[in-house]
């Protein structure tokens, strides 16, 4: 007996070192796995910020523009729509570098400045027509190649044929820099312009407004319907096969790939109901179907957490079941419902696959002004810009992502705050 005991003790002790090693290894693997996710998150945000932060500033060039009447109104009549503002910019550039001659050199020179410069002059003149025949000093946006050079994204030391900016242009930019006529400033265009083929003029306002209109439609539909469905299922539905079916259905819908909702939107809303393509209205309809399960599930959980004693007390005082729900249960469950709705909305804001199906990927310059104007959405804008080959669009994509993540962060923080401040423990 004693021998046997010693024997098993020996076996255990012999294996102990190996088992402890295994234990340590297992624990280390767990730590590495956890760290991997967190490290990825860090790398991810670091690359985004490094790539995207430079898009919030933009290079501008100072020019002395002579608002010559000869150019603006050759036949004596000033028509703002057709006047040659680009000619003014070209003249100003020639005046800045008087020793540039030859057609191709001049054309290179003109390419330093964005095509947006002409629009800027037109707006100035529209606001103040008395500027004609005077010389004004303005800061106009530089072309995106100049912008990339100044921000250090183009290396001027590599061979000329390998970069989108010529030696002569580099020299001009340097001389402008020395004269203090070139500066980087906050990139307002990013927040006030719609999309554009020119990176230096492209902005996210159109996409932001499109997302905003869509979310309005989504909230207006998904919140009331979701809450009503949750109330019915939780408070009134008899335990029947029908309510079981609805329940299984909602759980499944929450896991259906979002692109399938896009197919539904294309077939039902656009082809069958003939609603306009690319409209925030249709996008909002699709997104509300997509977020409905999320809201229903959250709202049901919120209703469930209201203790039955509240209902019994109200019933005991003679309230009808409808009154119990609308006067007592609903107000108490509202914070949880709101939290669920905000989380659903943040999912809707980040969603892009179903929007591709209903034509919200079109290139749209105008900022949408209503629910049926053609529009795009912020995540879709990210997708569109990510596809553009210009280096300058890559930085803008990162900037748009930073803005998108900023909105998501605010929404999630709001959800957390609502939960923290209004949550009740029974």
């Amino acid at each position: 007996m004693a021998g046997e005991q010693r024997k098993s003790r020996e076996i255990v002790e012999a294996g102990l070192a190996r088992r402890r090693r295994k234990e340590k290894l297992f624990r280390a693997t767990g730590l590495v796995a956890t760290a991997a996710g967190v490290i990825f998150l860090g790398v991810f945000f670091a690359t985004l910020i490094v790539q995207g932060s430079s898009a919030f500033v933009q290079t501008f060039i100072e020019l002395d523009v002579e608002m010559s009447e000869d150019l603006l109104a050759p036949d004596g009549e000033l028509d703002l729509q057709y006047a040659d503002f680009d000619g003014l910019v070209r003249n100003a550039l020639r005046a800045e570098f008087p020793d540039v001659s030859g057609r191709s050199e001049r054309r290179e020179l003109y390419r330093l400045v964005s095509v947006g410069a002409g629009y800027q002059l037109r707006e100035m003149l529209q606001a103040d027509p008395s500027l004609v025949e005077s010389t004004v000093t303005v800061w106009v946006p530089a072309a995106s190649t100049v912008d990339m050079l100044v921000k250090g994204n183009i290396d001027p030391s590599i061979d000329e044929s390998l970069r989108p900016i010529s030696d002569a242009q580099v020299a001009w930019v340097e001389s402008l820099q020395e004269a203090g006529r070139l500066a980087t400033r906050f990139n307002r265009a990013l927040f006030t312009n719609g999309d554009s083929r020119e990176p230096e003029l492209a902005g996210i306002k159109g996409a932001l407004m499109g997302s905003f209109y869509m979310l309005v439609v989504t909230v207006a539909l998904a919140f009331p319907i979701g809450v009503a469905a949750a109330i019915y299922l939780e408070e009134f539905a008899p335990k029947s096969r029908w309510s079981d079916l609805i329940e299984v259905n909602i759980n499944n819908l929450a896991a259906v790939p979002s692109i399938v909702f896009g197919l539904l939107g294309l077939a039902v809303f656009i082809n069958w109901m003939a609603l306009p393509r690319s409209a925030p209205l249709v996008g909002g309809l699709v997104l509300s179907l997509l977020t409905l399960p999320v809201i229903i599930i959250a709202s049901r959980a919120a209703i469930k957490s209201v203790p039955p004693s509240i209902r019994e007390a109200a019933l005991g005082l003679g309230a009808s079941r409808m009154q119990v729900v609308f006067h007592h249960v609903l107000p108490l469950a509202l914070p949880g419902m709101l939290t669920g709705t905000i989380i659903g909305m943040s999912r809707a804001l980040g969603e892009s696959a179903p929007l591709l199906m209903i034509g919200m990927v079109a290139f749209i310059v105008d900022v949408p002004g209503g629910f049926t104007d053609p529009a795009t959405a912020l995540p879709v804008q990210v997708y569109l810009w990510a596809d553009s080959p210009e280096r300058a669009f890559a930085e803008r994509t990162s900037a748009a992502i930073i803005v998108l993540l900023g909105f998501l962060l605010i929404m999630n923080l709001a959800a957390v705050i609502i939960r923290k401040r209004m949550e009740r423990k029974w």
């Binding site: 255990v12 088992r19 402890r20 234990e23 297992f26 693997t29 767990g30 796995a33 956890t34 991997a36 996710g37 990825f40 690359t47 319907i225 979701g226 009503a228 469905a229 019915y232 009134f236 079916l245 259905n249 909602i250 759980n251 499944n252 819908l253 896991a255 259906v256 790939p257 979002s258 692109i259 399938v260 197919l263 539904l264 294309l266 077939a267 039902v268 082809n271 069958w272 409905l292 399960p293 229903i296 009808s320 409808m322 980040g350 969603e351 892009s352 696959a353 591709l356 034509g359 995540p379 990210v382 997708y383 990510a386 890559a394 994509t397 990162s398 998108l404 993540l405 998501l408 999630n412």
Partner: protein, 462 residues
């Protein structure tokens, strides 16, 4: 904007109806002092009138808005001269579009003639007339409905029960929308898919090895009849999903184990929300990261050890998708691990096993059904994921198991077939719906099985 005015008018009428209904009920019993003579609280008479005023009018309004365009287009086509009304459907569509643009004062394609100008004028007239009729009808019905409700008010009238009945119907309608959505998905995908299978046999679609959905534009064009063998797409989807799961399952599972068993409370309080952030990042952002950061990185890394890597490799898309799914796997595994009764864990520890032995030999086997269910849900998520693969995986339908080559997936093809303007009845467009049907059926099966596993397992220990 005219619709907006109409809705505001309706809202004004509805509030007036509420007020009048309430006042009439009180007037019948001789003022607020005798309110107890009424069957219901005075507000319910108000709500009753409001519902009668608003609901029928809103129904008419919505129906009108939905059928108006179709009716007007039909009327315009009817009124066209015979030569035009005998055109093919496509030409007619273009003509109607032009007429609409002309009516709105926009530029049109093609020539404009007197017939079209007439039609455009008539179009505008019809619209104006329809708007007028709609406004009159809606407001009229609102008025009549409100009046009927007002006349029915008596002190003994059971207003509360009526109102609650209607609210109940509304609640039921709201909860059926979930069912309607499913039916809508099934029908829309199924109908178009059936039309597709009429042109392309089901067996070719499911077992064909060649995918090139280009259709001939002209009948005499060579070599572009289009072939719709979807096996390369299924294989590509499978390849990327496998890569994603190879990343997500071990990392997610080990993360869940570490956080549940080893980490201090402080580490858990920091690491868990951080991982949840991963789950909240939009997929388009992951796609951007995969295409512009991970793919070039894999390419240079592969080249430095002499591997041929496509710039849109399956590996980049799969890796990033795996990272995206880590939080899903870890949170579902975490649930499963926590549901194992602590008596089992304590028993194993008490018998002298180490923590890792307890975990591997006792807790994980007990939690296995829950974990498997969670993994199935994660697979379904990976199969349906769209943006990462659209941006980082290619369009080339290669039949390969090499993760360094470019492959394409079901979702990528749905997007490429449907983005941009297409004829809606070409096989190319319909193919997207057939792929959608496959995607829906497969993910539905995975979800149902996964959810059943998770639920059954949870009940087992409750």
């Amino acid at each position: 904007m005219q619709n907006m005015t109409l809705i505001l008018l309706l809202a004004a009428m509805a509030s007036a109806a509420f007020y009048m209904g309430r006042r009439r009920s009180l007037a019948m019993v001789g003022g607020p002092a005798h309110g107890s003579l009424l069957h219901s609280l005075p507000g319910y008479y108000g709500y009753f009138t409001l519902i009668w005023c608003l609901l029928p009018a809103l129904g008419i309004f919505l129906m009108w808005v939905m059928i108006e365009p179709k009716v007007i287009v039909a009327l315009i086509v009817e009124s066209l001269p015979d030569a035009k009304s005998s055109m093919s459907a496509g030409e007619l569509n273009l003509l109607v579009n032009n007429i609409q643009n002309l009516a709105a004062g926009d530029a049109i394609s093609g020539d404009m003639d007197a017939v079209m100008r007439d039609a455009a004028n008539r179009y505008n007239e019809y619209i104006a007339a329809s708007r007028k009729m709609m406004a009159t009808l809606t407001l009229g019905i609102a008025g009549v409905g409100g009046a009927i409700a007002l006349r029915r008010i008596r002190p003994e009238f059971r207003a509360r029960n009526r109102v609650e009945q209607i609210v109940m119907y509304l609640l039921i309608a709201a909860s059926s929308i979930a069912i309607l959505t499913t039916i809508g998905i099934v029908l829309s995908v199924l109908f178009e898919a059936i039309r597709f299978f009429r042109e392309v046999p089901l067996t070719e679609f499911l077992f064909g090895l060649n995918w090139s959905p280009q259709m001939a534009i002209r009948a005499d064009q060579v070599g572009s009849s289009g072939s719709f063998g979807a096996v390369p797409l299924f294989a590509g989807t499978l390849l990327i999903t496998t890569i994603a799961m190879v990343v997500a399952v071990p990392v997610g599972l080990m993360t869940a184990i570490y956080l549940a068993e080893y980490s201090s409370r402080r580490v858990r309080a920091i690491a868990k929300p951080l991982l949840e952030i991963l789950a909240g990042i939009p997929t388009v952002v992951y796609g951007f990261f995969a295409a512009l950061t991970v793919a070039p990185w894999i390419r240079t890394a592969g080249e430095s050890i002499g591997l041929e890597v496509a710039s849109e490799s399956a590996l980049a898309a799969g890796l990033v998708m795996g990272i995206m799914i880590i939080p899903l796997v870890s949170s579902l595994s975490d649930d499963a691990i926590h549901a194992v009764p602590s008596a089992m864990r304590d028993g194993a520890l008490g018998l002298g096993s180490t923590r890792s032995e307890t975990m591997v030999k006792v807790i994980l086997p007990a939690a296995l059904p829950g974990i498997v269910g969670g993994i199935l849900l994660a697979v379904s998520r990976a199969i349906g994921e769209t943006m990462i693969v659209v941006m980082a995986a290619g369009l080339a339908a290669n039949l390969t198991a090499n993760p360094f080559e470019a492959v394409t997936t079901v979702t990528v093809q749905i997007v490429t077939l449907l983005v941009g303007d297409q004829e809606f009845d070409s096989a190319k467009t319909l193919a997207a719906f057939a792929l959608g049907l496959v995607l829906f059926v497969v993910t539905l099966c995975l979800n149902v099985i996964g959810l059943t596993f998770v639920r059954k397992y949870r009940e087992q220990y409750e």
